[in-house]
Every structure is written in C-alpha cells, then in structure tokens.
Symmetry: C2
Subunit: 360 residues, 2 copies
C-alpha cells in the first residue's frame, strides 16, 4: 500500500480507494460465480470501456442500463432493473456491480437490497460525488412523489472500490456536485482538507487522488460510527436541509438543478444561520462564503419562493415531531447536529442568500 491507495478490509463493507483500485479489486470480483453490471447510458459509453480494460478477466452475465440523471432516480427505473434481474435469472448468490455516479448507486443499491430480499452489490463510483459521498454509507433510495429519497433503505454494498481513473470522463456539472461535498467535509470536520482547498477553484486542483482519499475517509469514519444516522452522521446534513428543499423545488417546477449547486446554496444559508446561532465572527463566515461563491454560481431566486421551500423542508426525513432541526457549524471545521432553528431565522438565511448580502 502507498500514499495513493487506501485499503480498509472491514465488515460489513471493505474499501479500496485511490490509484490502481480497479486492478486491486480483481480477486475480490473473481469469487462471484455470477455477476451483472448496472450502468446508466453515459457510464456505459464513457466508463464501462475503462472498467473492461482494467479488469479484462472479469466475467459477467450481462449489463443493465438505466437512463441518466437525477430526474430518472425513480420507481420506473427501479422496475426496469428488477425486470432485467428477473429476466437474467439472477439468484441470491449473484453480484450486482454498480458502476456509476450517485444516482446509479442510490437506485442500484435500492434495487439490489430489495430483489429477492437482497442480493450482494459492489459500488464502483465513477463521479466525484459518488467517490467521496454517495457510494459510501449504505443510503439507498429513489425520489418519489417529488420528494428526494422518499423511498429507500439503509443497505450496504460488500465493497466500495474508488478509482480516480474515471474522473477524466467527468462533465463540469458533475465536478461541481462532488466538490460541494468535498468542501462540506472541510467545513464540518476536516480543517486540513479545507486548507488544501482554500482559495482554489476546483479546476485548478491537481492532487485529486489525495483529496478523494481524505474526503472518502472522513465519510467512512462517520458512517462506521453511526450507520443509521442516530447521532454524528447527522453532521453530514450540513447544507442539505435547505439544499434538498431547493433541489426538490426546482425538480418540481421542471427545471432540475445540479445537486452541487443546490448544496452550495444550502451551505451558504446554513453557514449564515450558524453564524447567528453561534455568534461567529464575520471574517469566518466571509471565508466560507467566498470559497463557495468562487466555485458555484448563485441561483436567481425570488423571495416569493420562500414559503414553498419552507413547506418542502417540513417533509424532510430529518423532521421529527414537526420540528425543523439543522446540522450547523459550531465553527469552521466542527459541526453539531439536532439544532432546532426558529422558522424566522431560516427565512432570514434564505433572504441573506437571495439578497447576496455581506456579513454584518
């Protein structure tokens, strides 16, 4: 093992992260007598050839291809996967190789966990978001009735194999979605990571392998301590309570936005709320907001959408007994969870974002 490859052979999930991870996983794959690969149409075109080239001996029964995009993380696509698994006579000892970004691992993990009461799966994330977030931690699910991840469950793959080789195929919007999560780890738990990133636009970064290992390990540490999000895992929701509401809002109005842009907006609002609750200095809030604004364009929102966003938040899975609870920053590099926030402050956070105010 070296600096650029991290291996953690643990239960229930083993991890291989870094350069050469694909080749390293060859013997792991060889133990399954039957395997099927799940991809979306983009992954099929750009990543499946790389996967095949790096694992020439891997023998599989077939490829299931779904449509790409968050709008396709739905029941219809899940039904397609179940139908294909049925048609290929996949049995309980078979493996589903989940090759793709966050949408593919969310829906693939859900389909695998619910087919014949659960078949095994291995995640091979192909996007930055998948590598540092979605493929790790066993959250699976689909959007339903205009709510994100309304249907799904906690179900772990046996392994997560993260090889940065796929990043060369990545579109700009996918870089953004992953980068928002990378920034989040810096903000909630990893000042060293934040320092590595600070002042840079993501296109200027050249040491991605190191950054991915660092961010993925942050996520692994958290989910190993709290798989079912009873405590510390909630810290990962920083930026997501408002971010998901924004994402749902645009999905509902037929103009879907990228996850990254929505979370970036959520982080600005929630950093502002944090600064009010924990009274941190303007200079710290400005440091956070500058870095986010450097990497993400703001949405042109109107104050009239605020009531809709508040309504969507009330449907969030994180709502307990009707109360809105946030994960906030105690300071830069340290998050806290389950903080009840007054609706008035939430509204003001949104107004702060919309008006592009400075800290005062």
């Amino acid at each position: 093992m070296n600096d650029s490859l991290f291996v953690l052979d643990s239960k229930p999930v083993s991890y291989v992260i870094g350069e050469g991870a694909l080749a390293f996983s060859e013997k792991n794959l060889a133990q399954y007598k039957q395997a099927v690969i799940l991809v979306d149409e983009n992954v099929e075109k750009h990543c499946l050839p790389v996967f095949r080239e790096k694992l020439p001996l891997f023998n599989y029964k077939g490829v299931i291809s779904i449509q790409s995009g968050e709008q396709k993380k739905n029941l219809e696509q899940t039904v397609h996967i179940w139908n294909e698994l049925t048609r290929m006579q996949v049995d309980r000892d078979s493996l589903l190789v989940v090759l793709g970004g966050g949408v593919v691992s969310d829906i693939g993990g859900f389909a695998a966990a619910t087919f014949k009461r659960g078949i095994k799966s291995i995640n091979f994330p192909t996007t930055l978001l998948g590598m540092v977030d979605a493929a790790i931690g066993g959250k699976t699910g689909i959007d339903f009735s205009n709510f994100k991840n309304q249907v799904g469950l906690f179900a772990n793959p046996c392994s997560v194999i993260v090889d940065p080789v796929f990043l060369s195929t990545l579109e700009d919007k996918h870089w953004q979605s992953g980068f928002a999560e990378v920034l989040k780890y810096g903000l909630i738990m990893d000042r060293e990571l934040w320092r590595m990133l600070k002042g840079k636009h993501y296109r200027e970064i050249d040491e991605w392998s190191k950054i991915i290992i660092k961010a993925a390990r942050d996520k692994i540490d958290i989910v190993r301590h709290d798989a079912h999000e009873k405590g510390i895992r909630k810290n990962l929701n920083f930026g997501h309570t408002l971010g998901h509401a924004i994402e749902s809002y645009f999905l509902k109005s037929g103009k879907p936005v990228t996850h990254g842009q929505a979370i970036a907006a959520g982080m600005i609002c929630e950093a502002w709320i944090s600064s009010k609750v924990y009274e941190f200095e303007c200079i710290q809030l400005e440091e956070i907001i500058e870095m986010i604004d450097l990497n993400f364009d703001r949405f042109n929102l109107d104050e009239s959408v605020i009531p809709d966003l508040l309504d969507l938040m009330r449907q969030d899975k994180k709502v307990r007994e009707g109360k809105l609870r946030f994960s906030l920053l105690r300071k830069l590099g340290k998050a806290v969870h389950d903080i009840e926030v007054d609706m008035k402050l939430v509204r003001e956070g949104l107004q702060f974002y919309i008006a592009r105010e400075k800290c005062s």
Copy 2:
C-alpha cells in the same frame, strides 16, 4: 401471565400472543406520538371495529386501506401506501400499525421498511396464517413479474401482537391457508402439535388459542436462531418449493388459488420425495397424506403442466447456482434443509400427486 397468553419481551421484536393480547398492548402503543393504521378493505370492515373497541384510548392519525387478496400484493398497492404516508406527512418517528392477514403484513412491512429509509411498525395479524406465520420473522415483500415475493426484504416490526379475537371473522379459505402452516410445524419440528391435530378437520378444533401459541412459538424459535434464512429457517420451506410454483402457476393463468391449498399440494409432493430420499415406511407417508387430504381438496392438475411448474421452480429465491434444493422430512417431526433433489424425482412427486396414488 397464564396458559392462554404468551409474552416474550425480546429484541429486536417483542411478542404478545394469546387471549387478551390486544388489551395487553395498550401501553406499548401509547409511547408513539403519531400512528397510522394499515388495513385492507375486509379488515377495515370486520377487524378494525374490534381493534378500536379493544383499544379505545389508542389515538391514530389516519387509516390507509388497500385492496384485499394475494393478487393485490403488488407494486401498485405499495405505491398507494407510500403516497398515503406522504400525504399524511408521516415522519421517521411515526408508527405503522399493520392490521391484517399475510398479504397486509407482507406489503405493509415492505412499505414501512422502505418509506424514508424505514419507519417503525407493529404487526397485529388478523388471520390464522398471519398469526402463526406471516406476521412473524420479518419477511416482507410483494409479488412482481408473476413471481411471488420477488421484491422485498428482511425487516422486522418492533412487536407482533397476536390476539385470536379476530378469528371469529375469518372466512373458510383463510382458515385453510393458516392451517396448512400449522400442519407444517407439526411435520417439521413439533410432534406434540401434530398429535393434538391428528385425525381432526380444522373445523372441529376448539382450543385454537393453545394451538396458535404453540405454532407461533415454533416459528419464533426458528427465526430467532436464523433470521436471514442461512440455515435452520430453511426448514420452514417444506412444502413451499413446489407449493409456491403451483401458486405462481395459477396466479399467472388468472385463476389464483389459496396459499393453503397450494402448500397442502406442495407438502404432499415433498413428503413423497422425502419418503423416497429417506426411505421411510408407507404407514408414515400415509399418515401425513391422509391428514392433508382430510383438510384440503386436491387440484385437478394435468401432467402437461409439469414443465411449467419446473420452470417456475428454477426462478425460486431458494435456487442457488442453478440447483434445486428442498427442505425435506427426515421423518415425521424432523426436517432437514438444502437437500439437492434430482429433477426426475421432482417430476415423479408431481405425478404421484396428480395420479392420487397410494404409497407403494
């Protein structure tokens, strides 16, 4: 506690079984701030009034009603439940009260386990099948693409409350479905239960409370030892490999049959196969078959359906690496699992059933 009420306060599932179980569960229910009741149209009419009468203080937010019948254990009904849970703004701390027979607990358990990555549920079985089998052991799921339980997962309710008070509302075909499973416990693990039943038609039995406690405890013992069906739980599949194929066959041809009748047929075929594999005496096989024939009419099957049935068995979840494995009787009262059986013998078992032969 007395002879007619069994209480097991265990993790992850607690059980209350017998007369007065409903009233006993009152304080358990009181701890949930929000609850929704799931029923089917028959249960709503016949059992919900009883439930309300016995638990006058139980406060719930709403009732979700699905269509009744095995043919309705499908994705469409699951979507209906997810939609209703969404509409009622059910959150992760809410409880789903699953009041009904096997279909309601299979589909309700699945819907609860997959809504917002899992909400809590309590099973209140209202049919004999639910009381001794379906409500216990965490198997949830729906039929899909003409295969039984093709989609689903292992997910336990927090509690199972079995009160025989609901049996007075039961139709004949539902008695049959439960009784096939009761007989099965006798055959695979409980000679004392078999002796209590032997020679009786189920309509003659008057000590149901005792029999239900005995049968339910047999099931609980097994699932506590082997929740995920890696070993001994497979014994419960006696009669079901062929039985499910028969059930699927009729479902597919648009003439659904009761679970009990299908399992009764499966048990006759598989008892015959057992008698060949383990060479037991004709008198024992005859004892088994007489008891089943006393309680269940045989199907008028034609030999031409055998290839279809064999095909359906190949899609069974219990198939591993393409080989058909059965749970068979070593003798009356003792099952064994994972027994590979030659296709020829399976075919002959079906022929034995169809020709209504005697043991020879």
